[in-house]
């Protein structure tokens, strides 16, 4: 599976943080498992730090700039509250903050995720100055007492068309996502 596409280097091969089960399920650092997206999605991995995602996937889409879709799992989404409704308010104060967007909520619904209750919020943001827009879906779930997040963002020029099949890929990723062990915080 050609996931980690990129420039070849002459250095020693880096240890990858995942392995594939015989069924094609990704086992990530022996902590999570999920169904991977198709090979046209490139893996994103961020060094651990506050307000960074854990890992995600990105692909460039046809069309003018910006046409890109990415989705990610975040162990510590923006905000502090453990109740979803309050966390949603805190989260959207900072989500895509640098883009200075006006968000409109397209849908909000309670769902089941990672074996428990969750909240899914779909939004659209527009920047009329840059003539860009983004459709995003944010899913909050629980890992122990703490809120975790999954999000997908799809950027387009203002007259561009969204590709909702990417959101189906994201939903499949989220639906398949499982925790394989307790988190650091649950073991304290």
């Amino acid at each position: 599976m050609a996931w980690l596409a990129g420039c070849a280097t002459m250095g020693p091969p880096k240890k990858v943080p995942y392995r594939l089960s015989p069924q094609g399920i990704v086992i990530w650092e022996d902590e999570f498992e999920f169904v991977p997206p198709s090979p046209d999605w490139k893996l994103l991995r961020v060094e651990v730090g506050e307000n960074d995602i854990n890992f995600g996937f990105m692909k460039s889409d046809p069309g003018g700039y910006p046409s890109v879709t990415s989705f990610a799992y975040d162990e510590e989404p923006f905000g502090c509250a453990t109740k979803f409704e309050q966390r949603e308010k805190e989260f959207f104060k900072r989500f895509l903050f640098n883009a200075i967007l006006q968000f409109q909520i397209l849908e909000r619904k309670n769902i089941r995720v990672v074996g428990g209750e969750g909240l899914a919020v779909t939004v659209e943001g527009k920047d009329s100055v840059k003539e860009e827009k983004v459709r995003a879906k944010v899913i909050f779930g629980k890992r122990g007492d703490r809120v975790v997040g999954f999000y997908i963002t799809q950027w387009r020029p203002m007259d561009g068309t969204y590709d909702l099949s990417a959101f189906e890929t994201f939903d499949k990723f989220v639906d398949s996502f499982k925790f394989l062990k307790k988190s650091f915080y649950e073991t304290l």
Partner: protein
Amino acid sequence: MEGHQRNLYLYERFNARVLGVSRDDIITLKYFAKTLDLTFPLISNVTAFLGVSMDVQPEGQPIFGRRTVIIDKTGIIRYSREGSPDFKDILLFLKKMKQEGRLDPTTGGKP
């Protein structure tokens, strides 16, 4: 700061309290706390004496450098790390201190 706010329930478990200290004035800190929904105290140290005592006041700079300091119940600094907080490291240290009784009010933090 959000990280500390998220971990407040864990600090409570280890009988620890968190304070933020900066050189900002009170009005700025009030706005900062409100924006991030912080519920722990933020201390305004405009004259910088606290920062100087903790060695986080770079010479000629108007703001403190980042440092996390853990002080036990007897007032002894048990932990001091420069840079952004390593929350997992902090929590593990607090857990250890709790187990050693350094944060227990009934023992007065005696080793």
